[in-house]
Symmetry: C2
Subunit: 128 residues, 2 copies
Amino acid sequence: MDTKEKISYSDKKFEDESRCPMTDFINIVSGKWAIPTLYRLIITDDIIRFGALQRGIGGITQKELTKQLRTFESLGIVSRQEYPEMPPRVEYRITELGKTLKPTLDSLAHWMTEHRDELLANSRNNAS
Amino acid sequence: MDTKEKISYSDKKFEDESRCPMTDFINIVSGKWAIPTLYRLIITDDIIRFGALQRGIGGITQKELTKQLRTFESLGIVSRQEYPEMPPRVEYRITELGKTLKPTLDSLAHWMTEHRDELLANSRNNAS
DNA sequence: CTGAATCCTTAAGGATACTG
DNA sequence: CAGTATCCTTAAGGATTCAG
């Protein structure tokens, strides 16, 4: 560790002065698996174990799921309950704060379902 | 150029069998600037020139904006009108298809505005 | 003014092996 | 079972230069 540490891009994440809600949002929910993970937790709306969550999302690696969960946990969007048993059991659950995102994500899923075919057709026609 | 080209990950983008609307969505609207760009076009709801758009978004590079616009154009979400003048003028505009995303993005912006402080506070308390 | 092209650095994410 | 740790490859994105 250095006394004067390098300031990386990610340290600026979600700090004070961005003031654009969309930019703020992207700084919280970004990457290939953030929304799928969050939506799975919201849809479940109950405790769910790590393994079940991973299978439920489908295709996400353990490393990636762990990272996403840590992020959401620190934001208070997801809660984590660890049971010191053997084998270990860890239960995750969407929080009340996290649930407030449901209407928005529902809207997003609905839009995608509604327009998927049209987008795909456009995409094909304009393929390079 | 090789005759047999390597199949990269991105070639699988938005192809047939994903069937998860959230995954589909991420494949279309991903990265740091996609949503801010799209939202700016939606809010503008009129023709807007490349330079004005870039300034309106704030912080996006020319290269990045061009890339995003090409993507949205190929999906039929944004239209592009080029005037072969000197100096050149290019006007972009959200399409009807693109406008259908407005309620969803409004919801997203609203959620972020509403919960920004709480998220930031949580984030600070749980900082490593 | 609107890009295209190039170079470069960092971030994202997959694969695998290992551990309590 | 639920992670950590490590290695590795590709993607994302910024900075800069150049051109019509």
